[in-house]
């Protein structure tokens, strides 16, 4: 790859313009990426705070700090914030926004105004969702299952409408990325020269565009159910509450892959960059992303094995769900094969990528357990499920986000994060995570139901361990926040390519100039020409 490195280093995208207004009206994908970063970090802090409250409440059986109604609200807000406001926008809208055009050698995303609009959709949606706090909050869990969501307090409607508006944010980001990948690749950047993070974002974008509108109409119908009493999901009026579950999971299962596919893209970048070795099985990884995206539309019924759907449907969904394991395993084996005989550098980003490999594999394999209908009857709605999806979402996606943040931080801010402190945060998060969630597999197998406020005395010791783990994760993330803010102000100056990586974003200066590259890059080789 060739791109010039001669430039006026004093001007970059951060000091290109100044003032709050220049940020709020910016059309630059890098600045919008940073807007998303602060937004997502803020929501993550709030969602994380709720998580701490939940775990603290569960430290002892019975009442510890709050009553049952408040606990239900904590649980709902934790879930809704983490899903709709943190993990879904976390990789595509934050890291993707910053990195995607750079990796493609483009000056911006295809529709910069739409990109800014998507950020405002997230903010407005979040504001609407927070209105629910004025109406006794919402206590349905993030899944809003009918008929309970029809009968409970009015706060639910605000949360539902907020999620509806935030859905547009996700749709617009996805739409933008698909158009960018198709139309704005630099000369010579063929589809099979695109970095694997781009492939991950591309498959994610397809899901965002095709699945999110269905969530939109589902939430709109649910809001109409409450405001107009339309009865489509209300058994009292002849409606079908299970239809809501079908509609909801038709989006929300693909949404799980919206959360994990771009994270897998990050891991592909990190592993090849820190192993100083060409990625093993580039096309296999690229196509497995598309494969996961395609299969994800046909597995939603595995959330509903005990909902009363037909047995035949259950068996078909069970089989297709297990198929997801195939492309996922292809990726995992390719990553491990990439590291094999590489010149591995164990910097903090790679530690997070390896944490991803370890935790995601546990999360993935327990997913296969849950796909078996007979086992799911036992595990359904127990802490086994909670542990499973936290291993995937936190152990997978959040690990990748942290790794990606440390990896691209020098590019974003032109400064290095202290590797020592980044490793400390990794250790705290990794150990804390396992201490929190591994006992939950055991609790689930013992039969402790999820979402309950209280539990039997037999579960107390494992719950105590789990809560101590949660505090450890919390400490880890707090330190990480401090490390990042410190690095932003006082970090060591970063060179243009501190990791010696080969993808295009490292060929421009750190931080990049307003238009990304001084001379338009021309691509002549693949993304990972190490050896």
């Amino acid at each position: 790859m060739s791109a010039t490195t001669t430039h006026d280093s004093s001007k970059n995208y951060i000091n290109h313009e100044s003032g709050i207004l220049s940020w709020l009206t910016t059309l630059d994908h890098k600045r919008i990426g940073l807007l998303y970063m602060w937004t997502v970090l803020t929501f993550f802090a709030i969602g994380g705070f709720y998580a701490m409250l939940i775990r603290t409440e569960l430290f002892t059986a019975g009442k510890t700090i709050v009553d049952a109604g408040t606990y239900n609200q904590f649980m709902t807000f934790h879930g809704a914030i983490m899903v709709f406001m943190v993990i879904i926008p976390g990789v595509p809208a934050f890291l993707g926004n910053f990195v995607l055009p750079l990796q493609l050698g483009a000056k911006d995303v295809a529709f910069p105004r739409v990109n800014l609009l998507s950020w405002y959709c997230l903010i407005v949606g979040a504001a609407i969702a927070l209105c629910s706090l004025f109406y006794n909050g919402a206590d349905t869990g993030w899944t809003f299952y009918t008929p309970y969501s029809i009968d409970t307090d009015n706060g639910t409607v605000w949360l539902v409408l907020g999620a509806f508006v935030m859905g547009f944010s996700s749709i617009l980001t996805g739409l933008n990325f698909i158009a960018t990948v198709h139309k704005l690749r630099a000369p010579g950047m063929t589809f099979f020269r695109m970095p694997l993070f781009v492939w991950g974002l591309y498959s994610t974008a397809v899901l965002q565009v095709l699945a999110t509108p269905v969530l939109g109409i589902t939430l709109l119908l649910l809001a109409a159910e409450r405001i107009l009493g339309i009865g489509i999901f209300d058994p009292d009026l002849g409606g079908d509450p299970v239809l809501f579950q079908h509609f909801f999971w038709f989006y929300s299962h693909p949404a799980v892959y919206i959360m994990i596919l771009p994270a897998m893209g990050i891991v592909s970048e990190l592993i090849t960059a820190f192993s100083r070795k060409t990625i093993f099985g580039y096309k296999a990884i690229a196509f497995s992303s598309i494969g996961i995206a395609a299969v994800s539309f046909f597995v939603w019924g595995h959330h509903m094995f005990v909902s009363g759907q037909s047995e035949v449907a259950g068996i078909v969904f069970s089989f297709i769900t297990m198929l997801v394991g195939v492309p996922t395993a292809i990726k995992t084996f390719n990553w491990v094969a990439t590291m094999f005989q590489g010149s591995v550098r164990f910097d903090a980003p790679l530690l997070f990528a390896m944490g991803f490999l370890f935790l995601f594999t546990i999360g993935g394999v327990t997913g296969i357990f849950l796909a078996v209908t007979a086992m799911d009857v036992h595990f359904h709605d127990t802490y086994f499920v909670v542990a499973h999806f936290h291993y995937v979402m936190v152990g997978g996606t959040l690990m990748a986000i942290m790794g990606g943040l440390y990896y691209w931080f020098p590019k974003m801010f032109g400064r290095m994060v202290s590797d020592f402190w980044a490793r400390i945060t990794f250790l705290l998060i990794f150990i804390g995570f396992n201490v929190t969630f591994f006992p939950q597999f055991i609790l689930g197998a013992m039969g402790m139901p999820r979402r309950y406020y209280d539990y039997l005395p037999a579960y107390e010791s494992l719950n105590k361990i789990s809560t101590i783990g949660a505090w450890t994760i919390g400490t880890g993330f707090l330190i990480a926040l401090g490390v990042i803010i410190y690095a932003m102000k006082k970090g060591e100056k970063a060179s243009d390519n501190p990791w010696g990586a080969k993808t295009l974003e490292w060929q421009t200066s750190s931080p990049p100039p307003h238009e990304n590259f001084i001379n338009d890059p021309v691509v002549t080789a693949g993304p990972y020409e190490y050896r």
Binding site: A179, L210, A211, L228, I230, I232, L237
Partner: protein, 217 residues
């Protein structure tokens, strides 16, 4: 407003040239249309499921709808689809006067559609033919069990469609504003084309709603 014949559209900085921008815009718009179809798709799937569960409510419910008003609205929208295409054609042939005339006719058709819809809605509201729990009609047909669900679908589907017609009216008004300023010509008519595509989708959805709601009985 005066015609500013010196207007020249410059493609945004991240595109190679005007053609590149047009391609990307149309591509993005088609993606957006996909999302619209999927959003309405949820309602159509719901319709299909409830039609299979309670076919009788759709037969009884459709009798309350006046197929002549529905047909009138279908014709209105078909005409507007034609005029929006003619607006694009006029822009391509640099006939600025007819760009405006066609856009005004399109806007008038959209308004006409909403007026007919208003007449239909107010009639139903007056008779208490409302969705779900607000259903208060007391005639003999009310004995059909779950009949209110038909009106839930009627109002949700036509309501969501109607909101798209309103959005279309805003977009067409924006085109008219820009057409008055003389922005559109053979070199630059992307907004007309994109709004036109959106408007065709709005028409197309109505083409499905009309038989499903009015003629199903």
């Amino acid at each position: 407003m005066s015609t500013d014949s010196t207007y020249e559209h410059h493609p945004a900085h991240h595109f190679r040239d005007a053609e590149h921008e047009v391609e990307a815009s149309k591509f993005g718009l088609w993606l957006f249309l996909c999302t619209e179809i999927l959003m309405f798709g949820g309602l159509f799937v719901g319709y299909a499921i409830f039609h299979a569960m309670y076919p009788e409510i759709f037969i009884a419910g459709s009798k309350f709808l006046d197929w002549r008003l529905g047909a009138l609205n279908t014709v209105i929208l078909l005409i507007s689809s034609f005029t929006v295409v003619m607006a694009i054609h006029s822009a391509q042939t640099n006939n600025k006067k007819w760009v405006l005339i066609n856009l005004y006719i399109t806007l008038a058709c959209a308004a006409g559609f909403m007026i007919v819809k208003y007449i239909e809605y107010s009639h139903k509201i007056h008779d208490g033919l409302l969705p779900g729990k607000f259903f208060s009609y007391t005639g003999a047909e009310a004995a059909v069990q779950n009949l209110p669900l038909y009106f839930s679908f009627y109002f949700m589907m036509t309501g969501l469609h109607g909101s798209h017609v309103l959005a279309g009216m805003v977009l067409i008004s924006w085109l008219i504003y820009r057409a008055h300023k003389g922005h559109f010509g053979p070199k630059y008519y992307t907004p007309v084309e994109c709004v036109g595509l959106f408007w065709h989708l709005v028409d197309l959805i109505w083409i499905y709603l009309f038989p499903l709601l009015y003629l199903v009985g």
